[in-house]
Subunit: 392 residues, 2 copies
C-alpha cells in the first residue's frame, strides 16, 4: 500500500455534440492521445478502467470491448457505473489498483454519448435512475426538481440570493472561454440568468449543465513504474482518492443544506493527503446546478457553511482569486458527458499543476482537488493531486 | 499485497421469476443473509461492490444506493458492469480491494431482474450489447447465433455430436434437482434436447440458459480481519482471481474452438494459486449454451482440446466423477440472472469446500474453480478457492 500514484498522461475530446462519432470512436481518440501524452508504449498498460453511465441503450458493454478492438489493448477491462460520477468511480478503482501494487500502469477512460438519445422522455427516465427511482422519480420528482429543493433550502437558511446563485454559472462561462475542450465558450450575462424562464423554481432554464458527448482518459502509474521508465514526462501525484455514500432519497437525509457524502469523502481525502482545505489552490467541483458549486465549496471546507453564494458573487472563487474554482468552465460551460466529466476534472487539475493551462493558468498552483457527485449526493468522490515536488 | 482473502459468508435468493420483488428487495435479502452467515456486525463492512448488467431501464443505479437505504450500509458502493459476467467483475474488484489491504472486509453482491423486461425485442437489444453491437448485432447476429457458430466450429473440427452437446444440460439439470436455489429443478431427457426445434442450427430451444431474476452476495475478509474476529465461522480462501479480455467480435478472433480469454485468465489464476488444473475437484463454469461448458472444461485444462463433448457424454464430469462440473446445476438449471450468476458460482464452490452441499456434495473437495464469461468470450473471469487447511 506504499506505492505513490501519478497521472503520467491524458487525452480528451472536445465536449459537445458528436453526431458523426460513436462512443467507441470517442474512447479511441481520448485513449490514444493519453498514451502518446504519457510517452509510453501501449503494452505498458496492464488494465483499463472505463467509467460510463448509460449502458444497454447505446451499447456501452461493447464500448469497453472496443478498447481491445480499436486500441489493441489485450488487458482486463472493467466498466464502472456511478451515474453522473461514473468517471470518478473508474478513477477511484484504477487508483486502488495502482496504489495497492496490483498494477503498475493503467488507463482510465470516461465516455458518454447523450446525443444518441433523441427522446427527452428517455433522457428523463435515464436521469431518474440517479435519484431514488421508486420513491422520487416514479412519484414525479426529477433531478432538477430535487436540486430546486436543495436550492430553496439554502436560500431559506442562509438568505442565498438569485444573484449569488447566478454568479456561479456567470463565472464558469467566463472561465470556459479559455478552455478549448469546452462545449459553450461564451459568456452568459447575469441578467440573462436572472430573467430566464424558471423550469423548477428557483432553477432557471440556463442553470443546469448540458448533457453532451465526449471522452477523456488519463494514464496512472506507480512510482516504481516511473523509476523504470525515464521517458515518462508528466508526473502529477494523486495524493488521495476517496468515495463516500449517502441516502439516495432527499427525504432520508439529515439535512438539505450540505451533502454529507462530500463532507465524508473530503475529510478522508484531506487526512490521507496530509493537507487541509486551505492548502488547495484550484478545484474542479460538481456545478451541474448552481447550488452544486455553492454546496461543494462549503462542504469541501473552502468557505464557511452558508457563505458559498456570497463569496462567489464577491469574486473570491474567480480565476486567480482566493481559490480558483472550476477554471475549466466546470460542468456548466465545458458540458457534462457524465462518464467523461470526472476524468476531465482530473485533466484540468493536472494541466493546472503542470503549468499547461495557458490563459486560465492558476499562478503557482501546488495542490488541486476534484469533486464529482452522483445524483443529488447519493455518492461523492474527492481526489487530491499535487505537483510532484510539493509533497508534504 | 500479502493479505490472504477469505469468503466468510454468503446469501442467495431463489433464482427464477420474482414478479413481486424489485431489484433492491432482492439485494437486501441476499446481503442481509450474507452478513448473518458471516456472523459479523454490519459496521464491519467497509465497502460494497455490486455487479449488475442492466442499468438504466430498471434503475440499477438506485439499486446500488439501496444498499445504503435498505441495509443501512453507509460505505462506498461501486457498481461494476461486465455483461453476463458482471458478478465475477464485482468479485474481482472486491478481491483486489481486500488483497491489497485497502479494505479488510467488503460485501460483493450480484443482482438482475430480467422479468422487468416484457418485450422480447428489448431483451434482444440488451443482449446485443454483450456482442459487437455495431458489427454483429446491428448486422443481424444474436448471442445465440454466434454461439451456434462456435458450436458448429467445434462439431466440424472435433466431430462433436448432438448427443455430446445435449449431455451437458442433461447432466446439469440432474445436478440442479439437488439445489434448492435453482430455477428448474427437474430432469430433461436426452431425447427432448435432441428432438427440440432448432432455434439457430445446431442450437435447440432447450439449450440456452434462461434469463431470470435473483441476487447473491458474499462477504470477503482479510486474514488480519479474521484473526481479530474470532466469531467468524466460514473461511474459504480465495487463492486467486483473474480476468482477461479478447476481441468482442468473433470475426476478429484467432480461433473459434477455444476462448482465449478463458485460457489467459486460467493460466494466471493457476500460477498465482500455485496449483494446476489437475488439482481442481469441483468447478462452476459458464454453460449458458452447451458449447460453453465444453469449451470451458477444455480451455481450463481439465481435458484435452476437442475431448469436452466426449468426456461429458461419458459421465466423466458428473457429480463425484473424475471432476465435478456445475454441481449447482449450472446456469442452465439454476437460471441465469447475469449479475447474480458469478456470485452464485462462488457460493456453490464455498458450499462444496465447506461440506455444506448436502446431497450434491463432492467428496473431499479441496480446490474449486469458477469461470464466468462476458458475451461470446470478450472477457472471462477465473477464480480459484480452497479449503483453508489445503493451502499449498
Amino acid at each position: 500500500m506504499n506505492n505513490s500514484v501519478y497521472v503520467i498522461g491524458y487525452g480528451i475530446t472536445k465536449f459537445g455534440e458528436h453526431f458523426e462519432l460513436n462512443p467507441s470512436s470517442l474512447v479511441t481518440q481520448a485513449l490514444t492521445d493519453s498514451i502518446s501524452s504519457a510517452k509510453i508504449e501501449k503494452k505498458e498498460i496492464k488494465s483499463v478502467f472505463l467509467g460510463s453511465f448509460v449502458s444497454s441503450t447505446n451499447s456501452q458493454t461493447s464500448v469497453s470491448s472496443s478498447c481491445f478492438r480499436d486500441c489493441n489493448l489485450s488487458v482486463p477491462i472493467t466498466r464502472i457505473e456511478a451515474g453522473n460520477a461514473s468517471g470518478a468511480g473508474a478513477f477511484h478503482q484504477a487508483y486502488i489498483g495502482v496504489k495497492s501494487g496490483f498494477y503498475d500502469c493503467v488507463a482510465v477512460i470516461g465516455v458518454e454519448k447523450f446525443s444518441d438519445f433523441v427522446k427527452s422522455s428517455t433522457i428523463e427516465k435515464i436521469l431518474g435512475t440517479t435519484i431514488d427511482y421508486h420513491w422520487e422519480f416514479e412519484m414525479g420528482a426529477t433531478l432538477t426538481s430535487l436540486y430546486a429543493i436543495l436550492t430553496q433550502a439554502h436560500m431559506r437558511e442562509f438568505d442565498t440570493t438569485f444573484e449569488q446563485l447566478a454568479s456561479v454559472p456567470v463565472k464558469n462561462h467566463k472561465n470556459g472561454i479559455l478552455n478549448e475542450y469546452a462545449q459553450f465558450r461564451r459568456e452568459i450575462s447575469m441578467e440573462r440568468f436572472l430573467n430566464a424562464k424558471r423550469i423548477s423554481e428557483p432553477i432557471g432554464r440556463f442553470d443546469p449543465a448540458t448533457l453532451c458527448d465526449g471522452a477523456a482518459a488519463v494514464i496512472l502509474a506507480s512510482s516504481d513504474f516511473i523509476q523504470k521508465h525515464s521517458e515518462v514526462g508528466k508526473q502529477t501525484e494523486v495524493l488521495s482518492s476517496s468515495q463516500a455514500s449517502d441516502s439516495i432519497a432527499l427525504h432520508h437525509r439529515q439535512e438539505l443544506t450540505s451533502l454529507s457524502a462530500t463532507k465524508s469523502a473530503a475529510k478522508q481525502a484531506y487526512d490521507i493527503a496530509g493537507i487541509s482545505s486551505s492548502d488547495i489552490d484550484v478545484a474542479e467541483v460538481h456545478d451541474s446546478y448552481p447550488i452544486g458549486e455553492i454546496l461543494a465549496i462549503e462542504d469541501l471546507g473552502f468557505f464557511e457553511k452558508g457563505e458559498g453564494g456570497k463569496v462567489t458573487l464577491d469574486g473570491r472563487t474567480n480565476l486567480n482569486a482566493e481559490i480558483s474554482i472550476n477554471t475549466s468552465g466546470g460542468l456548466k460551460s465545458r458540458g457534462d458527458p457524465f462518464g467523461a466529466t470526472g476524468i476531465a476534472q482530473i485533466i484540468e487539475i493536472v494541466q493546472q499543476l503542470n503549468r499547461e493551462a495557458d490563459k486560465r493558468q492558476v499562478k503557482d498552483a501546488k495542490y488541486g482537488l476534484t469533486q464529482n457527485v452522483l445524483g443529488t449526493g447519493a455518492a461523492s468522490y474527492v481526489n487530491i493531486l499535487s505537483r510532484k515536488e510539493e509533497k508534504k
